[in-house]
Symmetry: C2
Subunit: 422 residues, 2 copies
């Protein structure tokens, strides 16, 4: 295989070659794909393949318990079992990896995600999360092991213990969700420990769009006196993207995946996808044929750009990272908004430590309001925020302050939108 | 090096050879050992080396923060940072591993601990604990990865979720502390799920002596309908022993450590240690010269036997595993007892789900009583237990029942002895 990643044509050739080899294997031994796929000899053949949705995966795993039929090898060949966090709603998906596909995961971490952030074997990385069945945490950890950095597992600790561990063990990198990084800084402040003066030089995030939302990114940068890096990935797909030195989005790893976009909300023709522009991200996995996804509708909202990047990478860039989940769009008096857009406005205010979008149906009308948790517990900032939201989106959104510590916090993803039954 | 493990003399030759090579390295580059050690050319040279205590390690780490001076290589060569659980009292010890010493850890798991229990790459292992800084959990996990078994990380889950995960994901092996295995069975029963009918065929334990205490072992066997295996180890030392097919104790891995015993409580002469008999275990590490321990007084109470074992191993056996901590001995009206002896009597009663030893000074007199938590919340069993304790130890020990769910439970080590201030 000629691994020429220096031209777009070279990248496309590599993609097609990997795809062909993989699909041939699937057709012979993967029950889930046997009937869905045909031989692929050209890009036109590829565009004739059907989309795949999460609902189909869930249904398959419910029909064939416990792991479904998307298994290319005998069960004994699989060495890891992970589950989705379930945060996208519904039953968690279970996903199995072989030794080979796990090496592929950890290689993407070592060679793309950590490398993109300039993290090396000289770094000491603190992992501020528990190690449950969610794969993202494990792959970040295993990738750091592969990199040869010093790893410090922060599972089974409360936030105060983690602040102390950072102070005492002097890690150079913090790995966590963006929300939880801000939470740690908040706990540190309560303990009289200023984490902006800690040994942390870089923070690396996942699980939520935050680290690519400019104002949230700045808030983390300020809280830790550190450079902030995002990365993207899904249990079903693997690690898909990383922040480069340009810092304005996420490069998707086109040597290991094929990325396409389709218009939001439509029932689009698989033949008419785009390779750039705004829409729902569709991904094909080229490195995990033990349980692969071919043309998977991710539900993620992205803006793909092929403009040259200052970092020199030819990989397509998701401007501003994952901009939200397609299903998370909500409407305020006719204006369509995503939680990430609201977050971008709110996180400009250092007074605001947390927020929640409340969606309510009142007399068949959609009503949206915001709950804000402020650092000092007062509502001094509210008037300014309402004005700012109005300037940004052209509509008035009601805001209400709640006492400090009211909104739920955890080390996993923050729940930004709450649908209230009335 | 002639790796002849088929004779006692062969094992001793291997030990001496590894020790000589290691000590030479320490003398040139390990600050902690530089002044403590001399060249070792014979066993007599070895017996002239001083003992090392935990207090000395703690003091060294306090003097030179954060990792102390027992580092043979530059800090950049170390890739993992772990801490002791702190359950033996005092400040947790921090311990660093290099890539090479971590491979040594995981090799001992794959080639001795899992192998001793007949666990293979065909098994599916559920890890019922969170992955904090405590090394035992991580090494069990990494050893299973090395073995090629399927690993299911059960961190970040409550006990009910874990019971459901066992039911749905069908693991063949459960890895946990012995106390927590019994706790899971208890939670399962409350949920109407009988774990003795689950897919679990073997359970593997550490952290507490339980799995080598006959009545506790039987209780776990009954609760899971499974074979129960113990293993021993310490953060500072690594994994030291495993249960073999004979099932009546733990073989200490003499190809990787030197084991000695000294009398309890004395200030013994380093020249007069024994290679069998009852006393405090003293261990020298031969496979982790990045931060080794030479003639380390473990504080563990053992009975070492060199009688031939039915499993064929020549490695010395700790009869009944680790029988307790030397410091945990308590006295009831002149009779010396260890918590493990009390546990052996109490766990014969299926009515008892948990217990605690209360140690109180009343008018300068030591008073000991037991709190028992019974399955049905009643004290029907108490009279029988008091009689049984009296027959076993020749003294009356007061027992009191407490309501179901009163005594603390966690997934780590159970706190068996409570010293009450009065």
């Amino acid at each position: 295989m000629s691994m020429n990643l220096n031209t777009q044509a070279g990248i496309k050739a590599i993609q097609l070659e990997k795809l062909q080899a993989g699909i041939e294997e699937l057709q012979s031994s993967n029950l889930f794909y046997k009937s869905r796929l045909h031989e692929v000899n050209s890009w036109n053949d590829f565009y004739d393949l059907p989309f795949l949705t999460k609902a189909e995966l869930v249904e398959d795993q419910q029909r064939t318990q416990p792991f479904g039929t998307n298994l290319t090898y005998p069960l004994g060949d699989y060495v890891r079992l992970h589950q989705t966090s379930g945060s996208s709603g519904g039953r968690p998906l279970r996903w199995l990896d072989t030794g080979k596909s796990w090496l592929w995961w950890t290689g993407l971490w070592a060679n793309h995600i950590y490398k993109g952030a300039g993290i090396t074997s000289e770094d000491r990385i603190f992992f501020a999360f528990s190690f449950g069945p969610f794969v993202g945490f494990w792959s970040a950890y295993a990738g750091a092991e592969r990199l040869g950095a010093m790893v410090i597992p922060g599972g089974s600790m409360g936030s105060e213990q983690r602040v102390l561990a950072i102070k005492e063990l002097e890690p150079t990198v913090l790995c966590s969700t963006p929300t939880y990084a801000l939470r740690l800084a908040e706990v540190g402040a309560q303990m009289g420990i200023d984490l902006s003066k800690s040994s942390i030089k870089k923070t690396l995030h996942a699980g939520e769009p935050g680290a690519s939302i400019p104002s949230t990114k700045r808030a983390i940068e300020t809280a830790f006196g550190a450079s902030v890096y995002d990365h993207t990935g899904m249990t079903e797909l693997g690690p898909t993207g990383f922040t480069c030195s340009a810092g304005d989005g996420v490069h998707f790893i086109e040597s290991e995946f094929i990325f396409e976009v389709i218009p939001i909300g439509a029932d689009p023709d698989p033949r008419s996808t785009q390779s750039e522009g705004t829409g729902e991200l569709v991904v094909t996995n080229l490195g995990r044929f033990c349980s692969p996804l071919i043309r998977y509708r991710t539900g993620d909202l992205v803006e793909l750009s092929r403009n040259p990047c200052s970092c020199g990478s030819l990989f397509v860039k998701a401007v501003g990272g994952i901009q939200g989940r397609v299903d998370d769009m909500f409407t305020v008096r006719g204006i369509n908004l995503y939680p990430t857009q609201v977050e971008e406005v709110l996180m400009r205010y250092s007074e605001i430590v947390n927020f929640q979008i409340r969606h309510e149906k009142i007399r068949h009308m959609d009503e949206v309001s915001l709950l804000l948790e402020t650092r000092d517990g007062t509502d001094k900032v509210v008037e300014k925020v309402v004005l700012d939201l109005r300037h940004s989106f052209g509509v008035r959104i009601d805001c209400k302050c709640v006492p400090s510590g009211t909104l739920p916090r955890n080390e996993m993803k923050a729940k930004r939108v709450v649908h209230v039954q009335s």
